[in-house]
């Protein structure tokens, strides 16, 4: 943990995006998490994803609940809107915000405690309703703020820092999300930004409920031998299905692969995700195959990562409700109150 603000100086040859911002412009306050926390790497990945996509920071609403992970929105996108909800209620608040103003880009950041324990009911319904959002669970398998008790995502048999094995079955967040109807589902690892950054970019470009389960080692309480969420364990058991290239409408397509090795997933704004398959048999648009792959790798003791499932024809909550294109918070009295004549007509029709 550092107390000093990060120095303002930056590399003179620093890259600038289409908005004229550098990646430093997407930073927030200095992190107060433990040194080496995986969550800080995820914050850095979010910063890079937003920078690369040239997202206007003031159009992002970052929402979180309670916990180490839910502190992180302070540490990125310092120029964006933010809301720290009560514990586990981020999905509900995010749903409400999205209903009120569909024009913002919603980023929900949560942890395994916030989303898989206290907030699992909220999580389930936000996904089920297809809220247009990027939902990232920073998953370290322990309750870090209360000194390392097992969380609901800790693997059965994995050991705590003091050597006690976890007796309970874990909740698999990606399998749950797919079953609940999420239309963009991936898993990644805080220690692999080359996979995580494009996965987050794809999620931002996707319309509908995009869910990313990101394994994020807790250096203080869950980075020892016997843990299944340590840097060493995840690196040794990582089964990546694919690597991604997110190609927005504007960028030229440069990757050149043999046919059959790649799969293309269309995005709503005309861009696409070019996947290089590491597992040639996996089709990311096949929901059943995604679930099967998750179970297959899990039974082999592997952690499956990459883009697991994407629905090219996804829709969102507003499509289902048939709301107007204009955000509800911008509708004035004239739009909402049809007037006496209209009321008379309605009443007459009911007589």
């Amino acid at each position: 943990m550092s107390y000093l603000a990060k120095p303002k100086f930056h590399h003179p040859a620093i890259e600038v995006n289409q908005l004229g911002f550098t990646h430093r412009d997407y930073e927030g306050a200095i992190s107060t998490l433990c040194a080496g926390c995986g969550h800080d790497s995820i914050s850095a990945a979010i910063i890079h994803a937003c920078f690369e996509l040239s997202i206007p920071p003031h159009r992002v609403a970052k929402m979180s609940g309670i916990g180490c992970s839910s502190k992180t929105p302070t540490y990125f996108l310092g120029q964006s809107h933010g809301f720290n909800t009560v514990h586990g209620r981020m999905p509900s608040v995010l749903t409400g915000a999205n209903l009120a103003n569909r024009d913002l880009i919603y980023l929900g950041v949560s942890g395994d405690g916030d989303s898989a324990s206290i907030g699992i009911g909220q999580f389930v319904h936000a996904i089920r309703r297809g809220v247009n959002m990027v939902y990232i669970v920073e998953n370290n398998g322990v309750y870090g703020l209360t000194k390392g008790q097992f969380s609901a995502t800790a693997d059965q048999g994995s050991k705590s820092k003091k050597g006690v094995a976890n007796p309970d079955s874990p909740i698999d967040m990606v399998a749950l999300a797919i079953q609940l109807g999420a239309t963009y589902v991936g898993r990644s690892f805080s220690g692999d930004k080359s996979q995580l950054v494009p996965l987050i970019k794809g999620a931002f470009e996707h319309r509908g409920a995009a869910f990313i389960d990101c394994i994020s080692p807790c250096v203080a309480f869950n980075n020892h031998a016997g843990s299944t969420k340590s840097f060493d364990y995840v690196r040794a058991h990582n089964a990546a299905l694919n690597t991604l290239d997110v190609i927005t409408g504007r960028a030229p397509i440069t990757a050149d692969y043999e046919p059959g090795e790649t799969q293309t997933v269309k995005l709503h704004d005309g861009g696409m995700i070019r996947l290089r398959k590491l597992d040639a048999t996996h089709d990311v648009t096949d929901r059943a195959a995604a679930l099967a792959a998750i179970h297959r790798h899990q039974s082999q003791g592997e952690i499956v990562t990459g883009l697991l499932y994407a629905d090219e024809d996804s829709g969102d909550l507003h499509d289902r409700l048939g709301t107007v294109d204009r955000p509800l918070n911008r509708l004035g009295d004239a739009d909402l109150c049809p007037g006496v004549e209209a009321l008379e007509r309605v009443n007459a029709a009911l007589r």
Binding site: M1, P7, P12, S41, A44
Partner: protein, 595 residues
């Protein structure tokens, strides 16, 4: 790439750009921290040990450290290192107790230093406390050499010279007034070693038509400055032309302004940017209303009845020949005739050794320079050593000091019967600065301030008195603020791959994007695929051995702020901030063989 060998003293030394660039390798960040802490005595002594004349250099140094300063790459202006040195000299207390004492027992060896300039005085200071009997010979009654005779008093007050030259002479060094006329004579005086520190005493002539006829009003710059310095010259004509573009020319024109010159003009053959004068000296001259005219080659002195009337100049431009050499060719425009009453010629200095007999076994090159070893400063006569401008031509004070230290090492080894070619290694040390979980012994909060200007005396007062020092120096508050701009480059980022868990925390936090974890490659290719490209080839890449993921850690040293955030964010202590200390070994026990 091969993992970086940090055990090589040069590696971390190069990271301390200022110290590496300083010929005397003064530990700059260390003394700047002491200034910030208000410990002026200690800051002064670090300088005194390393460069002998902190008060003088703090006003006159050519500052090779400042263009090298990392701050100049991170933002626009380097730290005002030179003027901070002056702060240490200005605000120190009585430091006599901290100086070495004259040797109580002599070692029986006698050393002659010819010329009482900075090189000779450095040799004397290094050798006298060891028990050597050192005699310094000079034609002038005072010691100091060019520091006293050529640098105008409005840049360097006499009191500062007296004090710092005094510290050397007080070590039991004898100053003997004598014009050096024969090397044979010197060698016959029974000294065990002779050090030649006679400088480059001859101002270059300008032989163009009219030189002889108008000689009464044409003066050689360094001789004229010397006459001004000793009070032999107290006035000059109203219209003065100074020929030349070096620091001597700047001193000549500014002195002229103070001695009655109302319209003083500097005329230079080459372009403004190519002038040899330091940028700040050109700036100061222009600030006193002195125009600098470029691309004009003097062709003729015009005169009337033996009285100088002006100088005719040919207009030129620079071209490059087939070999890329620069050549000045006439533009064809009409010549320019500038009227004046006096001319000061400051077109360069030359060495002159008419007093060294040709049959002593020393060989001279075509510029009349004796053959001198570039490392040991030994001549072809084993007990004769050279240093300062006398060794390799005109440079500046800090080089003379550096030469003096090395020559003193050679003389010490020579007199102790050792091989002068075996050079002592420097003392180095690397110590962690960690005091707590996010606490360091140094202030790692990077100041955003831009360079502070040194206050000047008002021009209307400064131009009336040639002895009134123009620069007033930083006060303690400004000095503190300027000192805070130092990036503490001697507090090194040290990486231990065995401890690294590759969590990326350092990569994410680094404000300058210096750190990368990537697959190995050769250097040229690696430089292009780092977090930020490493385009400055003069700065090293710090490279680790392979990590568990087979990647390597690469840190581009170029723009590192030494803020320590990588170490603060490192969960395992793989990064640590360690203070690198390098003291060059001077004459004495440290330079002698252990055998």
């Amino acid at each position: 790439m091969k993992p970086t060998d940090t055990a090589n003293p040069d590696y971390f030394h190069k990271v301390v750009d200022c110290q590496w660039a300083c010929p005397a390798h003064t530990p700059v960040p260390e003394y700047i921290r002491l200034i910030a802490a208000g410990r002026y005595d200690d800051a002064y002594m670090i300088n005194w040990k390393s460069n002998v004349f902190p008060g003088i250099l703090g006003r006159t140094c050519d500052r090779p450290c400042e263009p090298a300063c990392r701050r100049g790459r991170v933002e626009e202006q380097p730290v005002a290192i030179c003027r901070l040195k002056r702060v240490a000299a200005d605000y120190k207390g009585d430091i006599h107790a901290l100086l070495p004492k004259p040797a109580t027992t002599k070692n029986g060896k006698r050393i002659a230093c010819l010329g009482a300039g900075p090189a000779s005085l450095t040799v004397a200071r290094d050798l006298a406390p060891l028990g050597y009997e050192v005699v310094v010979f000079d034609q002038d009654p005072f010691a100091g050499g060019m520091m006293r005779t050529q640098i105008p008093k409005f840049r360097l007050p006499e009191t500062v010279i007296d004090e710092e030259v005094g510290y050397v002479l007080d070590l039991g060094v004898e100053l003997r007034r004598k014009k050096i006329e024969s090397m044979k004579e010197m060698l016959g005086m029974g000294f065990d070693a002779v050090f030649v520190g006679t400088g480059a005493p001859r101002g270059r002539e300008l032989e163009i038509p009219g030189r002889q006829e108008a000689a009464a009003n044409i003066h050689i710059g360094i001789d004229w400055l010397s006459s001004v310095s000793f009070g032999h010259v107290t006035g000059i004509g109203k219209r003065v032309i100074v020929l030349g573009g070096g620091n001597t020319a700047m001193d000549c024109c500014r002195s002229s302004r103070r001695l009655g010159g109302e319209s003083v003009t500097v005329v230079v053959r080459s372009g403004f940017d190519e002038m040899k004068a330091s940028p700040w000296e050109k700036e100061d001259a222009q600030g006193e209303g002195i125009p600098i005219l470029n691309w004009l080659v003097p062709k003729e002195f015009t005169h009337d009845n033996g009285k100088l009337t002006g100088v005719v100049f040919e207009k030129v431009k620079a071209t490059r020949d087939a070999k890329g050499r620069r050549d000045l060719v006439p533009t064809g425009e009409p010549d320019e005739h500038i009227l004046c009453d006096d001319v000061l010629v400051a077109v360069g200095q030359e060495n002159a050794f008419p007093w060294i007999e040709k049959d002593l076994g020393m060989t001279f090159d075509r510029w009349g320079m004796p053959k001198v070893d570039e490392v040991t400063f030994q001549s072809e006569i084993p007990n004769v050593f050279f240093g300062g401008d006398a060794a390799f031509g005109p440079k500046n004070i800090i080089w003379a000091v550096a030469h003096g230290h090395e020559a003193a090492v050679s003389i010490d080894k020579f007199c102790q019967g050792e091989n002068v070619k075996e050079r002592p290694s420097p003392l180095t040390n690397l110590v962690s600065q960690k005091m707590g979980i996010h606490e360091w012994t140094y202030d790692n909060d990077i100041a955003n301030d831009i360079r502070y200007k040194v206050p000047h005396r008002a021009a209307e007062i400064a131009l009336k008195d040639i002895r009134a020092e123009v620069e007033l120096g930083f006060d303690d508050k400004l000095a503190f603020k300027e000192a805070q701009r130092c990036l503490n480059c001697d507090v090194e980022t040290v990486f231990e791959e065995k401890l690294c868990i590759e969590c990326d925390a350092c990569v994410d936090i680094c404000p300058e994007d210096c750190i990368t974890f990537a697959p190995d490659g050769d250097e040229a290719e690696l430089r292009g695929r780092l977090t930020a490209p490493a385009a400055n080839l003069t700065q090293d890449l710090y490279v680790s051995a392979a990590l568990p993921t087979t990647r390597i850690m690469i840190k581009d040293e170029d723009l590192c702020l030494h803020c320590g955030f990588c170490a603060e964010r490192c969960p395992t202590g793989a990064w640590d901030m360690r203070k690198f200390r390098l003291d060059t070994t001077q004459a004495g026990d440290g330079c002698r063989s252990r055998a």
